[in-house]
């Protein structure tokens, strides 16, 4: 087979260099401080879950990592290079993003969408080569959307649509993959399948940063979890160390409770049993 693994980094990054490093990143949006000194590191082969309450700045941190918002202060490095030293195309060959609600024409076929992921590898007048078709095909196979490659996006279920956009990101052959709530609005099985895919990609050497609201899901699959609260990373580390009752309550409030999985011992974040709750 001629296709290289979809996750292979086209630019070789020394394993000791973090794929993503944000240092004291501050971002203001409409005069409001959204990120307030966020520091985060992600290495190759790592699946990192970014969690935190609504409005903590999770999406903004992803956008800061791809030069989509101006920094008030701090620095961001991708594969050891500061963001301003990378052209948009060079950055797009290193980092792929799956947004929360990406848009595309409903009549566009999955295969067409995925092939657009090759854009950073093509010049203005360039045509897709066999190599590009192979990379897109491999991306679809990995993301599990090969069997509906010819279908229009408007005909897909929520889970299938999510896979199509993940495949589009994989077709970029990025070293670093950023996903913003890829499991929102999916049923539990589909959520698990997406996370299993992310685990697989990390195992193949990609760095994966995933914003996720479901703390139990994050704890079950992620190597590390970073807890973002009021614009800063308050704690990062192994799920058991981060998702303690104390940390979770401080960030989220008193309506959540942490218990342990009866078999794996992993943290389970569940609704707290308060007086106004049933039973």
């Amino acid at each position: 087979m001629t296709a290289a693994p979809a996750t292979a980094a086209p630019t070789t990054v020394a394993p000791t260099v973090p794929l993503l490093a944000t240092e004291d990143v501050c971002v203001d949006l409409d005069g409001q401080r959204v990120l307030d000194g966020a520091t985060l590191t992600l290495r190759a082969g790592e699946l990192l879950g970014l969690v935190g309450p609504n409005g903590a700045g999770k999406t903004t941190l992803l956008r800061a990592a791809t030069a989509r918002v101006p920094l008030a202060s701090g620095r961001v490095e991708v594969a050891g290079r500061p963001l301003h030293a990378l052209s948009p195309r060079a950055l797009a060959r290193l980092v792929a993003v799956v947004q929360q609600l990406p848009e595309a024409p409903t009549t566009m076929a999955v295969a067409e969408l995925v092939l657009l992921g090759r854009t950073p590898h093509l010049r203005l007048l360039g045509r897709e080569s066999a190599r590009d078709y192979a990379a897109a095909g491999e991306a679809m196979r990995r993301a599990g959307c090969a069997r509906f490659a010819g279908r229009a996006l408007g005909t897909l279920s929520g889970g299938e649509r999510r896979r199509a956009f993940v495949a589009r990101a994989l077709a970029q052959e990025p070293a670093l993959l950023l996903l913003d709530e890829p499991t929102a609005n999916l049923d539990p099985q589909a959520q698990g399948e997406i996370f299993a895919l992310l685990r697989e990609l990390a195992a193949d050497g990609a760095g994966v940063l995933v914003v996720v609201h479901d703390l139990t899901l994050a704890a079950a699959y992620c190597d590390r979890i970073a807890l973002l609260h009021s614009g800063r990373i308050v704690v990062a580390g192994a799920p058991e160390a981060v998702l303690t009752a104390e940390h979770v309550r401080r960030a989220y409030g008193d309506r959540v409770e942490v218990i342990r999985h009866p078999r794996s011992g992993a943290p389970l974040v569940v609704p707290a049993v308060l007086e106004d709750a049933r039973g």
Partner: protein, 369 residues
């Protein structure tokens, strides 16, 4: 219990290269076939249009008069000198101008739809045509140094008016990064009204110099000439080449701006370049033939329905079919009330406006991409 065998069985064993081949590779015939057909159709339509006109010249003779102008062809047609002058100097430039303008308006419509991700964007509805007509009217009225360049200033002034109109509509409709589809078209309507009334004012006060402008308020190929054609064609070709070079990037822009940017596309710069080039094409079309609405709406949509939304195919097909469409519309405008002429803009509006209403009704404006 879930039947494991059944679940596994639902995953067909397709390998990646086969998927790539099956899903993407269109055969050469499938790509070039429609283009060849559209080109052949245009040749037929051009030939047919040449045989139509007020002077009673037999169709065969009209075509023979043209064909024997080609090098190395000697048909020995004997016809009055006036017939030859009518075919070569009156009908031919008129028919070619209709093709250039029709192709240009349809092409620029497709480009505007691509940049704005708005199915209703086209030169007329965006106010671009009215802006260009205003610029052209100014060029006719002002004592510009015409000299040997003659008509040459008109497309440039029209381009100025078109650029102001499209930027105006864009800036009004823009809210943050998003551009509302409905607001864009409403802004275009308002800008059309402003430019239209100023142009009328110029016409009413401009006296003798403004006379030629009257004809093109409704769009007409009455004033078509070799001079206008030869001055206008390079602008149209230049603009079309610049837009055409961005065919694949226009496909990327059909995703939201955030995705396009994250795929390494400089969204703002690309949009400005394509808008400027599309406006040059549309403005030149208006400078040649006046305000002709809805060609940029009907033709790209018909092509999309037939051949899909890939801009690399859509743009050339739209240009060829737009050319055929307007040449036929012009034949109709000449023959409906012959020997009197109905402005061709009225013919296109009568076919295009109902189509516009259909688009509004059948597919929600903001959801339609």
């Amino acid at each position: 219990m879930i039947d494991v065998a059944e679940v596994q069985g639902s995953e067909p064993s397709v390998r990646a290269p086969e998927i790539a081949a099956g899903a993407y590779r269109r055969s050469r015939l499938a790509v070039l076939g429609p283009l060849a057909l559209a080109a052949a159709l245009l040749v037929l339509v051009l030939g047919f249009a040449l045989t139509q006109g007020a002077a009673a010249i037999p169709p065969g003779t009209a075509l023979a008069l043209l064909v024997q102008r080609l090098p190395f062809v000697h048909l020995g047609v004997s016809a009055p000198d006036t017939w030859e002058r009518i075919v070569i100097d009156v009908r031919l430039p008129r028919v070619l101008a209709a093709a250039l303008v029709g192709g240009g308006l349809a092409f620029s419509g497709a480009a505007y739809q691509g940049v704005f991700r708005n199915p209703l964007a086209e030169p007329y509805l965006l106010g671009v045509a009215a802006g260009a007509a205003f610029g052209a009217a100014i060029a006719h009225v002002l004592p510009l140094p015409t000299g040997s360049y003659g008509f040459g200033w008109v497309p440039l002034c029209a381009f100025g008016g078109a650029a102001v109109a499209v930027l105006g509509a864009y800036l009004v409709a823009r809210a943050g990064a998003a551009v509302s589809n409905a607001t864009l078209i409403l802004a275009g309507v308002a800008i059309s009204a402003i430019f239209g009334s100023v142009t009328s004012f110029i016409l009413l006060t401009g006296g003798q110099r403004a006379q030629p402008v009257f004809a093109f308020l409704f769009g007409s190929f009455n004033t078509a000439s070799w001079e206008r054609l030869l001055i206008g064609a390079p602008y149209v070709v230049l603009g079309a080449l610049v837009v055409g070079a961005h065919g694949r990037i226009l496909n990327v822009l059909q995703l939201d701006e955030e995705q396009a940017a994250q795929l390494g596309v400089d969204v703002t710069r690309t949009k400005l370049i394509v808008l400027a080039a599309a406006s040059l094409v549309a403005a030149t079309a208006v400078a040649i033939a006046g305000v002709i609405g809805f060609v940029g709406l009907i033709v790209p949509h018909a092509v999309r329905m037939l051949f899909g939304g890939d801009y690399r195919r859509l743009l050339p097909l739209t240009a060829l079919l737009g050319a055929s469409f307007l040449v036929l519309a012009d034949v109709l405008s000449r023959s409906l009330l012959a020997p009197q002429e109905v402005p061709v803009g009225i013919v296109t509006a009568l076919t295009g406006a109902p189509f516009f209403l259909y688009l509004l009704r059948a597919r929600r404006v903001d959801g339609l991409r």
